[in-house]
Symmetry: none
Subunit: 200 residues, 2 copies
């Protein structure tokens, strides 16, 4: 078992933008291998700003939504570049709307990049088997189409906001882009947690 030094944790954080805890856990899991740790963070969706080569979004807001039943709760972190925008009402409203949406729509991941490659491949194989009765030359296209549909269902950014009256079928990604344009800053849905009593 490799020793995880504070320096190694710091390097990994600088390289990925991950939090201290996440970086340390990833290094432990990778047995000290920095490159492997980056992969682990990537799979977990914790290597955000850096992996997209965007301007760093290190400010932001953490907000929550609790369903009135007390049985479903969501915590979400939405980041931006300055504390000025973090206090902006449009930005905070976006964070609250994302939390509400997550409670209702139950996405599994923030972005497509966060979906583990093995999960994608496993789904693709199932869709290919389901298309086994179709002519061979169209099977890959059918399977690809079904994979895209599956991603539309489980990836937050690809989901149309559940408040369709207000958002008219626009996806979270489209709304995110609008808030980014409005505030003039990079806006990143960094992570979320959704707990529902009784779920496994």
């Amino acid at each position: 078992m490799a020793e995880i030094t504070a320096q190694a944790v710091k390097s990994l954080r600088d390289a990925t933008g991950a939090g201290m805890m996440d970086a340390k856990k990833a290094l432990v899991e990778a047995d000290g291998d920095a490159e492997k740790a980056v992969d682990i963070l990537r799979v977990k969706g914790q290597a955000h700003a850096a992996k997209r080569g965007e301007r760093e979004a290190t400010e932001g807001v953490v907000t929550s939504y609790l369903h009135s039943t007390g049985k479903i709760g969501v915590l979400v972190e939405v980041d931006c570049e300055t504390d000025f925008v973090a206090r902006n009402e449009d930005f905070q409203e976006f964070a609250r709307e994302v939390a509400l949406h997550i409670a209702a729509a139950n996405p599994w991941y923030v972005s497509e990049e966060d979906v583990p490659e093995e999960a994608k491949q496993a789904e693709l194989r199932i869709f290919e088997e389901q298309a086994a009765d179709k002519p061979e030359n169209v099977r890959p296209k059918i399977a690809e189409g079904r994979l895209r549909k599956w991603l539309d269902e489980i990836v937050l950014l690809r989901q149309p906001h559940v408040n369709s009256d207000r958002h008219e079928g626009r996806t979270i990604e489209v709304i995110r882009t609008e808030v980014a344009a409005k505030t003039g800053e990079n806006v990143v849905i960094r992570r979320f947690a959704r707990f529902q009593v009784g779920e496994e």
Copy 2:
């Protein structure tokens, strides 16, 4: 007196989430009767991870705590056995107090069992290296002591509640046991998420 096998202890621990010593004591007390041992642990409030136990804690509440800065948020699920207790004010108050505590104390895991064995071993190795200048025969004890201290710091149930005026240094586990006794149900802190902008 029935013989208590290591296998029996392991099964009981798997079923209840109890510690090894507690499981063994309960089996001795139950004269090897596994079902009776589960009851004994339950009465003593030591069958905490009842998610794996028989009297399942499948009801409960999801609650959150948001720090006034908007930079720290916590989501926590606390489970019990019936919706009746889930609506109980003492139970809900406990959930809110745990959320507030997590925001301030920043634990990494709910219980010691949640700490990955590799992480424990990695820490132990560091503590052993730090004790290299001590006489060889006392090194393991020093390292073990430091490991326990480290666990006290990162494991939620082992932390004294941050509101020391109100809780007088009692740990979350002690407070949890009290709520379980008060409500007559198994009370389980099932999971939590703590997000902090920038993770500093």
